[in-house]
Structures are given as structure tokens and as C-alpha cells.
Amino acid sequence: MSVDHVGFVTFRMARQWFGIPVASVQEVLVPQRVTRIPLAPPDVMGFLNLRGQIVTMVDLSVRLGCMRERPWDRLSAPLMPPELLGMDVVLRDGGELFALPVDDVGDVVTVLSSAVDEVPVTLDPRWKDMCAGIVRRDTDVLMLLDPERMVSDSVMHS
């Protein structure tokens, strides 16, 4: 990392915490109604309307091959109590908006560049593809993600 310290928005999927740079996060949403897109790639869950802008919803759990605690899709969003659905992190990449459904959103943490470790070589290739580094914390490890590679179309499917 070239900058001394960077802020990361943290979020959780199942038991793992992840971080993405604050600069690429636009906002955090309560779940919205999502329109499914037939024939779209498996990780593209659909489109949602964020104040007149089209947001592509991308399911990270499909890309990472992991589970979400709240795997309900957002098609039924208005019908379910929001606490069952988790949250959506909206990030901006290449002039487009993407929403990522996550189980929980945590604090914004500041990470010193010296504290970032290399991604372990033994990590699942799908994870390695997306991870920019890891940070050891008191009780767990925070996976830092590269926003561009989180939403790009070169997906490695399970």
C-alpha cells in the first residue's frame, strides 16, 4: 500500500469479516426490491433502483463459493422483515454502482499499510483473486478486498 493508512468499511459474511476501502463505498442500504435478470451470470442477482439510478446486485458468496447466513434473495425484499435480510453495501466502480448483500456491516477501521500481510498462498484461488491482503486482529483476520475484482466479469465459478 502506498498510502500510510487507509480506512476500510468492514462487513461480515457468515463468520468471515471483510474490508473494502472507504473511498469506493457509496453507502449502506437496507434491502430493496430487486428485479431478477434472466440469463444473467450466476453472481448477478439483479437490478435495484437507488433514487433513479440502476444498481447491479452482485452476490459475493457465489463468487467466493461461501455461504451467507441470510441467503434469501432480494426478490421478496419488501415482504420480509429487514433484519432477516442483512444489509447491502453499495460500492462504486468504473462509474457504475454495485450492491453487495452482506450479513452484517461493522465499523470503519483504519489500517496502517505496515499491518497488511500478503495473502497466504494456500488460500482458495477464488479468494486469492479478490483479496488485496489480510490484516491480523485481536481475535480474527480481516480480508481486504479489491473492489474492482469483486464485481468484474471474469468470475471463477465453482
Partner: protein
């Protein structure tokens, strides 16, 4: 510094675009001093600014061109075609340098000494300099710019006669797009507000909401208008193009343009620029004959290419007409058969007008053998696909030896389109109205018209067809093609949306048809863009996102690979071309042709028709001395078109009765006819006015005398006797 350079570049490119056309105009009217002054001023401004910016190469070229123009102004020189050619060459170099500046912010390297010498030569003698002489002179003078500096004294930069204060602003297009987006949001918010407030006229908010609503609509229209440009901007390069073609080929061609102020969305203008250029080039290169050939054929030696644009019901029509050799339909047929596009028998049975459309087929573009044709079809398939991509249509008509007209119809804007919202199981989709020909409702009684070929074809599905009048319409189950769970196949009732893309016609099976809406097209993101079945997406009034289908893409993924010839083979039975009218007449319209019962051909404009139905004779009921049918939860009065024949007498039991359903505000009406024949595009020119009520007159349509039916008359009739309590009538007959 960068800002100054940028301003200079934008200003110059605007001016130069106009310059080409101005100079060609000057060639035709060499004594036009106003024109000459305008051209001089433009070049002078460019020269002045580049001196300031230190652009040496640009300055020397502009300087020489300016000097020649000054001689023209002073009357020392006559604006002969050769002088004009040299000035045009200078402008080309200026454009090239400007383009280089835009890319790299520095002047591109190049040697202009030959050009400058050629320009300067005009001021030494009145005779055109030979190229060889020019090259010889360049070596003699290493710095031509200084050599002609003497002409500076004669320059009068203040010979202005314009000087109108500039009342316009330059606004970034991205800004306009953002504004458009924001207004779209405002419209949604307004719609939601109206829904919440309901229709309670006593509500405190009622007046305010109405006011807000009106302002919103006005704002939306104004923002749309800011994106409009006159179509003339897409034409500005054409005079130069035609002139160059004429000079290169030794032809005499005039270009006439009318309707240049017709306005279109800038996005549309960009999209048609290349196809237009291509077609005009085709007309000049291959359409217009050499002067001696024209004289031998008894035509004026100067050929004419005419561009005409006008607005027609939410569309812009552009016609490109030339009075050249035309396209020989016989040669086109032969070529099409050779290329394997169509079978010989079919080609021979085809009308000339249909046959001509083969020039738009991809296989046709590699033409090389038939001389009268060669090149005529080159790239026309690309032209058609470009026009169709923006929801337009293209059609060619030609009479061999007399000329050729290409008729293009394009939407005013791409940002807002009219679309039909349909339901497929629980999902909603929008289909652009431009691709839709008609809607057919399949009920338990008309299910028999759906035929299945158990082929186990693409996607493991059997091929389905619908017997639509005389044709077999291939069907695509939209749910199956998009792999949405559920099935219509066994459902009691469903709808078929009949679509046409290019020459291919097919039906999309959908579960429900909602309404037609004006929708704002939004681009899909990069993850969805590769899917060819979508043309974009939109946000409906309730805030939900709906995908816009691209019917052409849907047919591709569904594996309906009908070649154009096959589709035409099935649909062309009743369409015969009439002699090509020499003069422009009534507007081209979609017409529904049918037999009203007397055997005569009848027509109504398709725009007046809401739907077409096949009603089983058993369902026709009688109440209050009129015929009715229970239709979509209401009662639809049926009126037989020919009063002398009773409805039931015309058909036996177990048969269906074709009905044309029309609406007019509150009133609905079913016009019972004998047979629906076809939908064609033609002009209505009434030859004979009619005395009979309900008939506007008689016209020749598709080669037959046709009675044009006055739908308004029947609707008015129906209104007069409309029963006040229709439900009572139902109980009576039930």
C-alpha cells in the same frame, strides 16, 4: 493555456463543419459575397488564434488559404472548381492538424509546402497551376508564408455584416444527461405522490399536486428539447462528399436538401450519420449515371440527389432520392437466387418491391458480377442493422432507369421510447413498440390455431407455430427462452406479441399484456451488457426496475434463425406493388386490409385498431336488438361492416368471426368482418370520395380498389345507442 486550447478546438471544429458546406455552395454561386465573407472570417479567426497559441504549421496553412480567399473577395480571382478544390484541401489539412492537437496537445508533424505553394500560385497568375510546377516551386521557396505577407495590407477583417449577439451557451453533454436522469427521478416521485394522494378531489394537496404534475411534465419536455439538434448537423458533410464524388467520376450531381431544421435527439443524429453518408455515396457512385449516358436516356445531364426530412407521428422520416439508373429488380432476383438467399420459384412470385429489399441481405454485399448492380448493395446490410438498432426501419423503392428512393423512419429520441409492458409468469418486461406488429390473444377456442412440430429443436423444445391468417408465424415461448420457471403451454389463455425485426416475423408468447408506456431507457451495467436479449432497462412508476427486451436478440437466443427469404415467402402472398408514384403523396401508413363481407377489399389505418380478435360464433349474443360479446370482463358491441348480411348468416356454427376492436375514449366497438387479410405499409390517396356513411372513399391499395372505412363513424353510431346499464343485458341473455 489548456483551457484556451480546448476552447479554440471546440470553436474551430464547429466552424469547420459549416465551412465545407459553405465552400461547396460558393462554387455554385461564386459571386455571393456574404458567403465569401463568412468563409474568410472563419479562416481568419483560426489563423489569428493559432498565431497567439504558437501553432506555426496551422498558421501557415490558414494564412495561405486566407490569402487566396482575400483575392477572391477582392475580385482578382474567380472561384473556379480548381481554386475551390485547393481551398478544400487546405481545410482538410487544417482539420487534420486540429485532430492531432486534440489527441496530443501538440501540432502533428507534416509537410505542407506543396499545398501552400499551390495556394500561393493562385495569386500569381489566373491560370491553374500544374502539379508538377507546384512541386518544383516548393524547393525554390523554403518559407512560403513570408513570401505572401504582402497580401496582409489588403485584409479587412471587419467586413462583418452579421454580428448577432450570441444567445446560446455551451453545456457539457454529461451535464444534460445528468439533468435528464434527475428529471426522470422527479417524474417517479410525482407519480408516487399521485398514487398516495389518490383521486380525492377534496384533499388539501389536490391542487398543489396537480400543479406539481404539470410543471414536472413541462420540465421533462424542456430537458428533452435541450438534447435535440437539427438533422442538418448530420448533413453538413454531404455537399462536400457529393462534390468530391462528382469531380472524381466526371459526373454532374446536384444535392438538394430540405427539412434540415427537423430536430432529433443528438444520440440519434450520431447513430444515423454513417448510414446516411453511405447511402448518399451509393447514390452518387452507383445511382447517378455519367452525363452522356443520362443524355442518351433522355434525362438532364445533371443528376439530382435529394434529401428530405420531416416529422411524422413521433418519428422522423428521411428520404434519399436519386434520379439515377435505379436498381433492376430482375437482376436483384437473379443475384438473390445465385446467392442462395431464395428459391427461384419464390423469387419469381415475389413483387418487385419485395425483391428489392434483398439488397439489405448480408449475403448480397459481396456482389461483383452483375455490373448494373455492383456496389449497390455494398454495406447496405450494415446500414440496415444500424438503423434497426435505434428502432428505425428502412425501405427501398426503385424503378429501373428512373431512380431510387430510400425511405428511413427513425424515432425522435432514444432516451424515451414507447414500450409495451408484458408479464411472463411473475416477471415483467418491456418490449419496444417499434418492433411490435400486432397482438394476438389465444383463448381455449383459438388454441387450435397453434400448431406444434415435434422437433425437439433448440432448447429441447418443440417448434410451435401460429396460423395467423394466411401465414405460419413461428412462436417463441418467452418464459422458456429466458428460462423463467413456469409454463404457458397448458394455460387457458395467453397472448402472442407479433414482432418484426428486419424481414423476420415471429410471435413471443407472454402470459399477460399490461399497457403501453413512455419509458425512460437506462443502460444496463457492464455485467449485463453482453446479454443480447436486452436493449436496456427502465424504472416504472412504482419504482420497480424492468428489463427492456430486444426482440432481435431474443429470437437469436431462442434459435429462431429464419432467414429473411423464408419469412417473406410466408408473408408475401397478398402484397403486390403498385407502379411507383412519381411525386410525394400522402404519408406512408400501416394499413389493415380486410374483407368486410362483400368480397371487396377494405382498409383502416392500423393506428385506429386496438386489437384483432377471432370470436367464436357461439359467443356472439343478442341483447337490446344488437349483437354483443363478453370481452375482457365487459360487453363489446359488435357491428357488422356490411349491413345487408346478418352476422350469424355469414358463418356456420363452430367457426370464428374475425373482429376488429377499436377504442375511442370510453367507447369500444367490435367491427365484425369476413376475413382479415394483411397488414401493409402504404399511402392512402383517395381516388373517389364516398357518399355512403362509414366509408371515406376508395383508394388503390396493394394493387386493388379498396374502400377506406371511417372508424369514427362506427364509434359515433355505437355511442348513440349505447345502453346505460350493460350488465342488465348480460343477465337477460345468460
Amino acid at each position: 493555456m489548456d483551457d484556451i486550447l480546448n476552447d479554440f478546438l471546440t470553436e474551430s471544429s464547429d466552424n469547420l463543419a459549416r465551412l465545407d458546406a459553405d465552400i461547396v455552395a460558393l462554387e455554385h454561386d461564386p459571386s455571393n459575397t456574404v458567403l465569401l465573407n463568412t468563409i474568410f472570417r472563419t479562416i481568419h479567426t483560426i489563423k489569428g488564434t493559432c498565431g497567439f497559441l504558437g501553432l506555426v504549421r496551422l498558421e501557415s496553412v490558414a494564412h495561405s488559404a486566407e490569402s487566396v480567399l482575400d483575392w477572391l473577395r477582392a475580385g482578382h480571382l474567380f472561384a473556379s472548381p480548381d481554386v475551390i478544390s485547393d481551398i478544400l484541401r487546405a481545410i482538410d489539412v487544417i482539420k487534420e492538424i486540429l485532430a492531432g492537437l486534440e489527441r496530443t496537445s501538440t501540432e502533428p508533424f507534416g509537410d505542407d509546402s506543396a499545398l501552400i505553394a499551390a495556394l500561393d500560385a493562385w495569386m500569381h497568375d489566373e491560370e491553374p497551376a500544374l502539379t508538377t510546377v507546384v512541386t518544383a516551386m516548393t524547393t525554390a521557396s523554403s518559407n512560403p508564408a513570408t513570401r505572401t505577407s504582402g497580401s496582409d495590407e489588403r485584409r479587412h477583417p471587419n467586413g462583418d455584416d452579421g454580428g448577432i449577439a450570441d444567445a446560446s451557451l455551451r453545456v457539457n453533454v454529461a451535464m444534460l444527461d445528468k439533468l435528464m436522469n434527475t428529471v426522470g427521478e422527479l417524474v417517479l416521485a410525482r407519480n408516487q405522490l399521485i398514487q398516495i394522494a389518490g383521486h380525492d378531489e377534496h384533499s388539501l394537496y389536490h391542487t398543489s399536486i396537480q400543479h406539481l404534475s404539470r410543471i414536472t411534465t413541462e420540465l421533462q419536455e424542456s430537458v428533452m428539447k435541450t438534447r435535440m439538434q437539427p438533422i442538418g448537423t448530420a448533413w453538413s458533410k454531404l455537399p462536400r462528399l457529393v462534390r468530391d464524388i462528382a469531380r472524381a467520376s466526371g459526373k454532374q450531381i446536384t444535392l438538394e436538401m430540405s427539412g434540415a431544421t427537423t430536430e432529433l435527439d443528438r444520440q440519434v443524429i450520431q447513430a444515423i450519420q454513417d448510414p446516411l453518408t453511405h447511402m448518399v455515396r451509393n447514390s452518387g457512385d452507383h445511382g447517378i449515371e455519367l452525363p452522356e449516358v443520362r443524355r442518351a436516356r433522355g434525362k438532364l445531364s445533371t443528376g439530382t440527389i435529394r434529401l428530405h426530412a420531416y416529422q411524422e407521428s413521433g418519428h422522423v422520416v428521411i428520404e434519399i432520392t436519386d434520379d439515377g439508373a435505379g436498381i433492376d429488380p430482375v437482376a436483384v432476383r437473379t443475384k438473390a437466387v445465385e446467392r442462395g438467399l431464395v428459391r427461384r420459384e419464390v423469387a419469381d412470385a415475389m413483387s418487385d418491391r419485395d425483391a428489392l429489399n434483398f439488397i439489405f441481405e448480408p449475403g448480397f454485399s459481396t456482389a461483383s458480377t452483375v455490373t448494373s448492380l455492383s456496389g449497390r448493395g455494398v454495406g447496405m446490410d450494415v446500414v440496415r442493422s444500424n438503423i434497426e438498432r435505434i428502432g428505425g426501419t428502412i425501405d427501398v423503392r426503385s424503378t429501373a432507369g428512373v431512380g431510387c428512393t430510400i425511405h428511413i423512419r427513425i424515432p425522435l429520441t432514444l432516451a424515451i421510447i414507447s414500450a409495451l409492458v408484458v408479464g411472463v409468469h411473475k416477471e415483467m418486461f418491456a418490449i419496444p413498440q417499434t418492433a411490435i406488429i400486432e397482438l394476438v390473444r389465444v383463448t381455449s377456442t383459438t388454441r387450435a390455431l397453434v400448431e406444434t412440430v415435434f422437433s425437439g429443436g433448440a432448447n429441447g423444445q418443440d417448434a410451435q407455430f401460429y396460423r395467423l391468417r394466411d401465414t405460419l408465424l413461428p412462436l417463441i415461448d418467452l418464459g422458456g427462452a429466458l428460462r423463467i420457471r413456469g409454463s404457458h403451454a397448458n394455460a387457458e389463455e395467453y397472448n402472442i406479441v407479433v414482432c418484426q425485426t428486419g424481414a423476420t416475423r415471429f410471435g413471443l408468447i407472454v402470459s399477460a399484456v399490461f399497457d403501453t408506456q413512455e419509458i425512460v431507457v437506462k443502460p444496463v451495467g457492464r455485467r449485463v451488457k453482453p446479454l443480447e436479449c436486452y436493449a436496456g432497462c427502465t424504472i416504472l412508476g412504482d419504482g420497480r426496475v424492468v428489463m427492456i427486451l430486444d426482440p432481435a436478440g431474443v429470437s437469436t437466443i431462442a434459435g429462431v434463425q429464419l432467414d429473411g427469404a423464408h419469412a417473406r415467402e410466408m408473408t408475401s402472398t397478398s402484397c403486390t406493388a403498385t407502379a411507383e408514384p412519381a411525386e410525394p403523396m400522402a404519408a406512408l401508413e400501416r394499413l389493415l386490409l380486410f374483407d368486410g363481407g362483400t368480397g371487396a377489399q377494405h382498409a383502416v389505418p392500423l393506428s385506429r385498431v386496438a386489437r384483432l380478435e377471432e370470436i367464436p360464433v357461439e359467443r356472439i349474443e343478442r341483447a337490446d336488438d344488437r349483437q354483443l360479446v363478453q370481452y375482457r370482463g365487459a360487453l363489446l358491441p359488435l357491428v357488422p361492416l356490411t349491413t345487408d348480411v346478418g352476422l350469424d348468416a355469414m358463418l356456420g356454427p363452430g367457426r370464428t368471426r374475425p373482429v376488429i376492436v377499436c377504442h375511442d375514449g370510453e367507447t369500444s366497438l367490435g367491427l365484425a368482418v369476413h376475413e382479415i387479410r394483411d397488414i401493409i405499409e402504404d399511402r392512402i390517396t383517395l381516388e373517389l370520395a364516398s357518399e355512403r356513411p362509414g366509408v371515406l372513399g376508395t383508394a388503390v391499395i396493394a394493387g386493388r380498389a379498396t374502400e377506406v372505412v371511417d372508424i369514427s363513424y362506427y364509434l359515433a353510431q355505437s355511442r348513440v345507442v349505447r345502453p346505460s346499464t350493460p350488465n342488465a343485458a348480460v343477465e337477460e341473455v345468460a
